[in-house]
Symmetry: C2
Subunit: 135 residues, 2 copies
Amino acid sequence: MKPQVHHIAIVVPEIEAALGLWRDLLGLPLTGQEHVPGQQSTVAFLEAGECQIELVRPDAADTGIARFLAARGPGLHHIALQVAGLDALLARLQAAGVRLVDEVPIVAAGGRRAAFIHPHSANGVLVELYELPPD
Amino acid sequence: MKPQVHHIAIVVPEIEAALGLWRDLLGLPLTGQEHVPGQQSTVAFLEAGECQIELVRPDAADTGIARFLAARGPGLHHIALQVAGLDALLARLQAAGVRLVDEVPIVAAGGRRAAFIHPHSANGVLVELYELPPD
């Protein structure tokens, strides 16, 4: 199983205004919208083929997403790759000197395990590794 | 036919060093690498499921890609959505007041027609609309 893009996260100041482009004009189906209490944010999911575009709006001022928005304005935040065998992959990355945000997986949306690679080691891109659910 | 993500472009200073992460450690298959004379850049394509990750390296200092790299460092540059009916879509976007980089389609890689939406109108994201080939 090769990794594939699971989602592309875009930080926005307002979900509804952003849906005016992505859903209404570009025609991407809105598949869900939820408040994520653990991250103090609201997320809307749009289907874009096999992967999703996630619009993320901060719900509080003292979060990483809110600081990103305040410092840089709206924009691309991270890409998530769906991978198998997250623990082994993280071990390989660490052995190769790749800087990880999460050396131990965190629990992401839907209960899946995930870990972020630091942009310093990934060409300036914040990369989420998102583990496939067990069969 | 709904739009789907065709590729995610990442600006890098060196292709080979970047492949050390994306191909060798993360396991994304390298499907091609080419010099794009019209854009004075070199591009490597990596398969990531249904869409691709494109690593873009500037080959000259006076290009948009080179200026992006000099000003902001490596990072996410744009996302491309594969769409049908590009002319009609551009007309709808213009009628809605969306700011376009290309009001008339340009010819992109592979001879396909494409046009960019300005980040000002797309939550800070440079969005390429990439037309499906005719059946």
